[in-house]
Symmetry: C2
Subunit: 372 residues, 2 copies
């Protein structure tokens, strides 16, 4: 039996995804320590917005009492540079898990990777901001060259659904990806499945937005969903993986569902209050689609040969797979040369702490399998 | 820049999947040789049923003229033991690609793996025969322990669709897989989508079987599809990955669509000729389903907590995702604790040389990323 290896894990962010991840890490840690080739995973750094937990001797933190331990901590969160110095001086290989959606931490990935720290994350900002950051991250990442660390980000699109790994495999095995199309936002999925369900019904648009917010399907300020930027970020990531040099999530047409007249609203509440003045516009769209025997959905699409990316409302036949979506499910279709007329489709929950964490934990396992 | 690594590839079987794989290998070989951490992939063994190509000095075979070279070869195919000896004496790491559906080669996987040879394959027989062979394969496989070789078999279920990798990730990240259900056979999918399309229509069952055979959707003898064994093998693999110790693909209920009275037919042609005598039975089933507002499909399902696996005809509501399938597509739904009421669904072509080869090439890349 080979000697057990120790691998250090550092976690930034312990909100919904972070908690889910730490739960899953606890199960994984126990499983891999009992395998025929044991690995000892050791949590050596943990931080949330204001507090951190770590020791100069890389003492292992508890995966059962971390929440109380962090609450008691009086240690401030170190800067990304300090975190990088701390982790790169560790006596074992390190996997850094960024469960935030923080732009500053994303901007530090090249720093971490160059120091040989492996990074796994659902943080969309790292991969959908300026193209320069994307290039800087993947130039710094070794991903097999033996120099920089590995980076995986399955959960940056479609949460735990195998969207990014599938696209990478299509590209790497030499398929010709022609079009990627789908519903990429759980919020938008829920909203339009409720606003215009197949078979008729649904309330006014503003009422459905209010309902979605009350049920927790939107961001605290629903404008953060309705502006389409979240979907645009995901499309940016997929388009880049498909080989397009998309400059930023605002460098292609993105339809915002925030009426121009309401862009100046001071608060989400004021916006929600005034949104009903625009219900007629959405109702007209609904009627128009119904007359054509279609439904309206908020989708994103990438035409790879044409280099076109777009995000917005489109009408779909009732027999189209997108019309059959339920609840807040995502659905991503890959049209490729090999798959022909019927696309490769991946569907299911594309948001939520546990399924997002699953993608992160899966990425951690991929790094483990590679660096062990 | 790190020194380039050489990795040897050996290929058994060059029919439809094998040809597709060798095409893809050619593209991959060229790509990885130009990466920032170059790998030289070298084909050092190639065989089909009667002939082989290889040299004692592990000379690289041509990926552009292999077909003509193999046709000219007068070298007989060595035994699995001889292949294992040849490959394990190689001066580089070896990935053996078995593109056959041969039981004898499958039975030799433990031999290859113990000698440190990595194996990737779409060969269902290796993973769906006696449970003892399954155990023997995975005991021999190192998959990270540093001893035996790695083994990957994505294409043994759903061809290139990411079915096995997804199930493994659900299990390894600690999700609670409750049910796996779907259409696992392109032939059966095409047959029932034609026999009983949503919206009505479709010919007699025997006529649809004949049409499917003429269009190349069935095995040369369609009884090899209609007996349900192909689906039962795929279910056996998934059930074992989900943790069930399924003894064999005949150890659970499998509904054969070959009428008892026709089991003694001497040939596929005789069978096809006589099948129309049983069209009435299938028509009755079709009418019964139609009266309930449903369609009939040939599906497999695994109830993990109950340990139940079954394969056969079932009726589905028109709104069920299985009813919306088109052409010869597969559709696999994973019902898990994390995904809740709406399953994680993977859908698309589940058969065909190129898409099956894609799963094999993807597995080869997984091994490369790990052993490089």
């Amino acid at each position: 039996m080979p000697a057990p290896r120790q691998i250090f894990v550092a976690v930034i962010g312990c909100g919904g995804v972070g908690k889910g991840f730490l739960n899953q890490l606890s199960a994984v840690t126990s499983r891999v320590s009992r395998s025929s080739s044991p690995i000892y995973l050791s949590l050596v750094f943990l931080s949330r917005s204001s507090k951190a937990l770590y020791s100069p001797s890389y003492q292992s933190l508890s995966l059962s009492t971390w929440e109380a331990d962090l609450a008691k901590s009086e240690t401030a969160v170190p800067s990304p540079q300090q975190i990088a110095d701390y982790l790169s001086a560790a006596p074992s290989k390190v996997i850094l898990v960024d469960n935030t959606s923080n732009q500053d931490i994303a901007a530090s990935y090249p720093l971490f990777l160059k120091k040989g720290i492996n990074v796994v994350t659902p943080n969309k900002k790292a991969f959908s901001s300026d193209y320069a950051l994307w290039q800087s991250i993947f130039n710094a990442a070794g991903n097999g060259t033996g120099a920089g660390g590995y980076i995986f980000h399955e959960s940056s699109v479609g949460a735990g659904l195998p969207v990014i790994s599938t696209l990478k495999e299509l590209v790497e095995t030499g398929d010709d990806v022609q079009k990627i199309e789908g519903v990429f936002s759980g919020t938008m999925s829920f909203l339009f499945n409720s606003f215009m369900p197949v078979g008729g019904g649904g309330g006014s648009f503003s009422a459905e937005v209010k309902k979605a917010k009350e049920l927790g399907y939107t961001e605290p300020d629903p404008r953060d969903d309705l502006n389409g930027l979240d979907v645009a970020r995901k499309l940016t990531i997929l388009a880049r993986l498909a080989g397009l040099s998309v400059e930023s999530p605002t460098s292609f047409p993105v339809q915002s569902l925030i009426p121009k007249e309401l862009e100046s609203c001071q608060s989400g509440d004021e916006f929600l209050e005034k949104l009903q003045q625009f219900d007629q516009q959405m109702d007209a769209l609904k009627e128009e689609a119904a007359k054509e025997g279609k439904v309206v959905r908020f989708v994103g699409s990438i035409d790879v040969p044409k280099g076109e990316v777009k995000v917005g409302l489109e009408k779909f036949d009732l027999s189209h797979p997108i019309a059959a979506l339920k609840g807040s499910d995502n659905q991503i279709s890959f049209y490729t040369k090999r798959y022909g007329a019927n696309p490769l489709i991946i569907q299911g929950a594309g948001a939520g702490g546990d399924v997002t964490a699953m993608g992160v934990t899966g990425d951690l396992l991929k790094v483990l399998h590679t660096i062990r």
